[in-house]
Symmetry: C2
Subunit: 307 residues, 2 copies
């Protein structure tokens, strides 16, 4: 089943509804019950302390987007939020432009808010100008991320959930965290009946300088993706393990108490893509999924809502 | 406890973490488990068919924001999303501006995406230029909404969840739906130990013309808010019942098969504000909440995650 056929089957089954814009979907309660099943299943395998588990908002301070380096490396994918910041007196002119479609958006003012780029960026911002213990910190974070890349591929939503296990600490600790989770994550996803492959990968850095960064990422084997079929086209990335070296430590000025910049790593599960891969593997009728997969995801027989 | 004291107690207890921007919070798994408890509790009281229950993304087509009238009435609160749309060749100039902070945001291009204004707006857009049956349609929708109004009041988050029960159909049906839900919703929230008052209200329309709209809304009693204490300051709106008359029918060109424009109504629960009101009423230690409230919200004894 090719991408466009899989998309059609999702829409026909009512699991997703197209909202009128490419890559923007309304998700049925059934789709969401799978997402939540994957979330709990992954969360149970995590070992972050209870008070270091967070859900992040879909928006974050614009300053965090810039500090993280995201605005430099992925300016085409980012989302900066603008509003009308004029007075009562300026409103009629604004409304006149809005009604005649005359470049009305040039009347808007950028706010200090951006759409979240990756689940872990706001976390690093929390530790800005701080030192953390050498033994490291573990966090579990779910974020709603945005990428401006309109596409009809259901696996390329503009707004999607990342569920991440993040380590902040030493270089050795970061590499160990990433490698442990690549193995654990692969096992967890294979248990769900997915055909998971682990491949060296790179982020989609923009521009010529970006291609150099991407090559370096591959040479140094910083990023691994876990892929699975989401159509008969090339397999899609459903999770990734990333070693950031000391990038986040440097840009957010985070050190370890023993001295030197913080190193970090994260393992991120793409909840929406895993859900799509599960539907592709097991069919659009969730009641007919293998019994063991349903049990692992705590999907009841009457899946009408995310309970 | 005043607003700033309640905010401090939430941050001290680790239920919320300030992300660095006013009105942007990172929510603990414990906070989220309450949100999900309220969601299930309300959802169980709903009667929308299983295939008419949806979760909407935090973003929606910009066209929907404009068609709904939101950009006209609340231009100060809306969020339009911009990205860098330049080429490889234009990137160095952009990065130069970004690094020197020289009005770099003027280099961005508005996308065709906006932050979601209200949970039900994308729903109406789905029915654009269509006729619906006279007996009406019921939907249950959860949306992540955005309002650009930075504030230190935790009840005024820039990004928050609305859980709505929406009716599309006739004028009589819409009024009956709203009034039924104002009563049912008040009962449900009072059962949770909240001191709920029902008051006639208006939306925060912008500008001089907006004040006329707001007055009309109050005169015609189109909007009722359910309020509860979220601090010792004035009670906050935690839910609302809204009769849209034929506004959505007209702007999205939706008719009923028997003839005439569609009328609509919604009852929306502010999941984050209800959670805050519950914490204000019962304390920051969820394990000490009244047993019956915990039971109604399916909060287990070991609340470490949203399971």
């Amino acid at each position: 089943m090719q991408t466009h056929e899989f998309r059609a089957s999702l829409l026909d089954a009512g699991l997703l509804v197209n909202s009128g814009g490419d890559g923007i979907f309304q998700r049925s309660f059934t789709f969401e019950s799978i997402v939540r099943g994957v979330e709990s299943y992954a969360s149970n395998a995590g070992d972050a302390p209870a008070n270091q588990r967070f859900f992040f908002a879909p928006v974050m301070p614009l300053a965090t987007l810039v500090s993280s380096g995201y605005a430099h490396s992925f300016p085409n994918l980012m989302g900066v939020v603008s509003s009308f910041a004029g007075s009562d007196r300026e409103l009629p002119a604004f409304l006149g432009k809005l009604d005649t479609d005359d470049h009305w958006m040039s009347e808007l003012t950028a706010s200090d808010v951006a759409l979240s780029s990756a689940a872990c960026h706001p976390l690093f911002s929390n530790f800005s100008h701080q030192s953390i213990p050498e033994e490291g910190l573990l966090y579990e974070i779910q974020g709603v991320c945005f990428r401006h890349e309109p596409s009809i591929d259901p696996a390329r939503m503009q707004s999607f959930r990342q569920h991440e296990f993040v380590y902040l600490g030493t270089s050795d600790g970061a590499l160990a965290h990433r490698d442990k989770w690549i193995e654990l994550g692969s096992d967890l996803l294979r248990e769900l009946g997915l055909d998971v492959q682990v491949v060296v990968a790179n982020d989609p850095f923009f521009g010529r300088a970006g291609r150099i960064l991407a090559n370096g990422q591959i040479e140094k084997e910083l990023k691994f993706e876990l892929t699975a079929p989401i159509s008969s086209d090339a397999p899609g990335a459903i999770a990734s393990g990333n070693y950031h070296e000391d990038h986040m430590g440097r840009v957010f000025d985070i050190t370890i108490l023993a001295g030197g910049p913080m190193h970090s790593a994260c393992f991120g599960l793409g909840l929406d893509r895993i859900t799509l891969a599960l539907i592709y593997a097991h069919g659009t009728d969730v009641s007919q999924w293998p019994r063991d997969v349903r049990a692992l995801l705590s999907i009841s027989n009457s899946t009408t809502g995310p309970s």
